[in-house]
Amino acid sequence: MKKNNKNHKLDYGIFIVFILFLLGSQLFKFDMGKVITDNFLIFARDMLLILPPAFIIIGLFEIWVSREKIENSFGSASGIKRYIYAILLAATTVGGTFVAFPVANSLYHKGADYSSVFTYITSASLVMIPMSIMEASIIGLEFTILRIGLSLPLVVISSIMLNKIFVKIKYDLPADV
């Protein structure tokens, strides 16, 4: 725990130095610094807007949803429907993998098995509805249908394989994060 705190102080330190560097770049008209600032702002704005509501919803989920319910829909005894649920949940997760990681961890600790968790995380970025619409309009509908149609079965198959490995080595996802 102590080691963790130290690391966090270092992280905050690096972050502050980075912000100072960005501000300095504006001041001294350092072009590369300006490009980095633009990119930083794109991600920072997204995170600032998405993370607070996402984590409140995760909090509500952990307090309200019973273990039994998750075991029934995402647990190892719930058959093929858990992959359909995992993919549907992924398609509607706002914020892609950034939000999918904490959600997946909460799901796991409520009784979801590895194959649903892995299917969920990997499909979270693959099938996000608004992103897929954008892709279809720029690269082409054919490409998007092909990509989603081919990838989902592979994702489910690989998740089932990963599940077998992790059950065998008795792996546990980190708790209390």
Binding site: I50, P130, I139, D172
Partner: protein, 171 residues
């Protein structure tokens, strides 16, 4: 520009609408539980925040260097080399869709093959090297490594299949 607005603004709104609706339902059912939920969410966020900040810094740096690199090098006529580079860049970095797709559009307009675009776009989504500091907190080191290796293999298979479909990978 219009696409960006539809993609971004509405999903963001939807997240807030879902949160508010859930909070109202929760408040009606049980006030203490609602307060506990908010506290739980806030505590979780504060615990992981440094990792998000770390990734924010990494992403801003990687993105700044990779954008020019992508336009310059993915345009190579050699499909194997282009695909491999697309795979590597896509795996390392991560991009919001409203940057990645217009970029892919530019490449496509320049005559870059679908195979290379597929390698880039799919690995961008599936494999996350930059997001490792975050993923390992939630999935553990092994969980993160195994998932990313599996994703990389799937990306290669998919790229190959898409290449076959568009008749770009021929023997």
């Amino acid at each position: 520009m219009k696409i960006k607005l539809i993609g971004e603004g509405e999903t963001m709104q939807y997240l807030y609408i879902v949160m508010v609706v859930l909070l109202i339902i929760s408040l009606i059912l049980d006030r203490t539980k609602t307060w506990k939920s908010i506290q739980r969410g806030f505590k979780k966020l504060m615990k992981i925040l440094p990792n998000y900040l770390k990734i924010l810094v990494l992403l801003a740096l990687v993105m700044s260097f990779s954008e020019d690199f992508i336009v310059e090098y993915l345009g190579t006529q050699n499909i194997l080399l282009g695909g491999l580079l697309g795979l590597i860049i896509g795996s390392i970095t991560m991009m919001p869709g409203f940057i990645a797709y217009p970029l892919a559009g530019v490449l496509l307009a320049r005559g870059v093959s679908y195979t290379v675009i597929a390698a880039f776009v799919i690995s961008l989504k599936m494999v996350g090297v930059v997001t490792y500091p975050l993923e390992k907190e939630y999935m553990g080191v092994k969980g993160t490594l195994y998932r990313n290796i599996a994703s990389l293999i799937i990306t290669v298979i998919l790229t190959f299949m898409i290449g076959l479909y568009y008749g770009e990978v021929l023997f």
